[in-house]
Symmetry: C2
Subunit: 263 residues, 2 copies
C-alpha cells in the first residue's frame, strides 16, 4: 500500500483501467485529489449543474465534462471516465441495478460526468495539522446523517443536506474550521458543531450511512456537508440512467490537494 | 448620495423600478453586493454555466435564475430582474442594438439570468483596510486589458481573460492579495502583478476598456480577473439575444459584502 501511495495518479489509473486494482482508493496517490463521480443525461445536466452551483458545500465541483465527452479535461486530461474508476454503480429510475468495473457499454453521446470534491483531501490536511480523524483511527467509514437543512432547490433537484461527522475536542474543532475553510472545493468549513438536534439529528450513535464512531468525554461533534447529498438528491429525481462511483472507489485526478487551497 | 448610501438595497430597487434612479449604482447601498448581469437563452445556459464553473475568477457566480424566472431567489427574493437595474443593454447576434430602462418587452420563458460578482465589493474591502484605489482617487473607471491568458473553453464559449488593474506599492499589493483572497465570489486574489508584458499587455497606458490611471514611482500594477470577460466571450458566440447591465448600472442584491467572505 505504501508503494501505491507513492505512485502518481496516472500510473494508478492505468492499473485500474487494466482491472489490476478493483478495491477502494483510500490512501492511494497520497497528496492528490480524489473525486466523487455522478454521470447524468444531458437533459438533466443544466439543472444538476445549477443545483451544485447553489449548494457548493455539499456539491463542490472539481470538473464537469462536455456532453458526450469521457475526458475530464481540467482535472485529468489523459484519463477516461468510462474505465478509470475501480467500481461503478448503475442506477435506473433511481434504483441500483448493477455494479461494474467499467461503463463502456453504458456510455453514450448524451452523458455528462460531474466530478465532485471529497473529504479525503481535507482529512489529509487535518492529519498534517495534528488533528486526528476518529473514523480513520477506528478504521471504519465516517458516520453520515440526513439533516433538516434543506438544499437550495434547482429545477427538479431538491432534498436535505447530508453531513459527515468527526468528533474532536474544542481546540481541535477551532483548528479544523481554519484548515477546512482553506479548501472550499472539498466541502470547506463545517456547517455545524455541537448539539446534533439543532440540525435534526436525533441519535448521534445511529448514523444514516457509514459507521458509528466513539465520541470521547469533552469532545464535540463537528459536521461537514457531505458528497452523499448530490447522489441522494439525484436519485430522488429518478433519472432513466445515472452512474456513480461505488462507495470508496473514487476517481483519482492529477490535481494536488494543495492546489485547491485558497490562501 | 450619502443618503442613498444608507438606504437598503430593496428601497433603492424600488426607486429604480419606478424610474426614479437611472444613473450608475456605484456608492449606493454601502456594504451590499452589486452584481453584473448577463441574460441568455436557455439553449445556451448550460454551456455558459459550465464556462463560469470552469473560469470562476473572471466569472464568479452570485446567482442564476431558473429558466423563465425573473426572480433571483438566492440573492434578492423580492427583486424583479426585468425592472430593477437602472439601465440595460440589448444585443442581437452580438451587436448592441439598444439601451433600455426595463426589459419587460424582451422577457420570455426561455431566458436565464446570470448574476456575477463585481469588483465593487473587494474595492470596499481594500479601502476598509487602508489600501487606496487609484481610479477611485482619480474619479474614473478602472483600466481594463485583454490578456493572453485563455479562459477554459466550455462548449461554444471561449476567449481571453480580461483584467482590471490597480497600481499600488508592494506593501499594499501583499495586503491586497490577503484581502481579496477572502472574497472568491468577487474575483478573488489577483491573477498577476508586476510586468504587464508577461500577460500580453503591451502598453499599460493604453487600456482596452475603462480609463488610464497614474502609476507612481515605486508602484507595481496589480491585475484582477474582470467581469467584462464573460460578456466579451458571450458576445463572441453571437446569441440571437443577450441582455446585460449597462456599464456601471449594476444589480443591487440583498447580500452583504461580508457574507461573501471566506474566513
Amino acid at each position: 500500500m505504501s508503494l501505491m501511495a507513492d505512485m502518481n495518479p496516472a500510473e494508478i489509473r492505468q492499473l485500474i483501467r487494466r482491472k489490476k486494482w478493483v478495491k477502494p482508493t483510500s490512501g492511494l496517490a497520497s497528496g492528490f485529489v480524489q473525486a466523487n463521480l455522478a454521470i447524468l443525461p444531458k437533459e438533466l445536466a443544466f439543472e444538476f449543474l445549477l443545483f451544485c452551483q447553489r449548494n457548493p458545500k455539499p456539491c463542490p465541483l472539481i470538473d464537469v465534462t462536455e456532453p458526450g465527452s469521457f475526458i475530464p479535461t481540467l482535472s485529468a486530461p489523459n484519463a477516461d471516465i468510462r474505465t478509470d474508476l475501480p467500481k461503478y454503480r448503475v442506477y435506473r429510475n433511481g434504483v441500483l441495478t448493477e455494479e461494474r468495473t467499467d461503463i463502456f457499454d453504458f456510455w453514450n453521446n448524451e452523458m455528462v460526468a460531474f466530478l465532485l470534491g471529497c473529504s479525503f483531501t481535507f482529512e489529509e490536511k487535518l492529519l498534517d495539522n495534528g488533528v486526528p480523524v476518529r473514523h480513520m483511527e477506528e478504521d471504519c467509514n465516517a458516520p453520515m446523517y440526513i439533516t433538516n437543512i434543506p438544499c437550495q432547490k434547482a429545477g427538479r433537484f431538491e432534498g436535505p443536506t447530508v453531513v459527515s461527522m468527526r468528533p474532536m475536542p474544542p481546540k481541535d474543532a477551532i483548528r479544523a474550521v481554519q484548515i477546512t475553510s482553506r479548501f472550499p472545493s472539498v466541502h470547506g468549513a463545517p456547517i455545524h458543531l455541537g448539539d446534533p438536534e439543532q440540525i435534526g439529528i436525533r441519535d448521534i450513535n445511529q448514523p444514516d450511512f457509514g459507521d458509528s464512531v466513539t465520541i470521547k468525554e469533552g469532545e464535540i461533534p463537528v459536521f461537514w456537508a457531505c458528497g452523499v447529498t448530490p447522489q441522494a438528491v439525484a436519485m430522488h429525481v429518478k433519472p432513466d440512467m445515472m452512474i456513480t462511483h461505488a462507495p470508496g472507489h473514487m476517481f483519482l485526478t492529477d490535481l494536488t490537494n494543495e492546489s485547491l487551497s485558497i490562501m
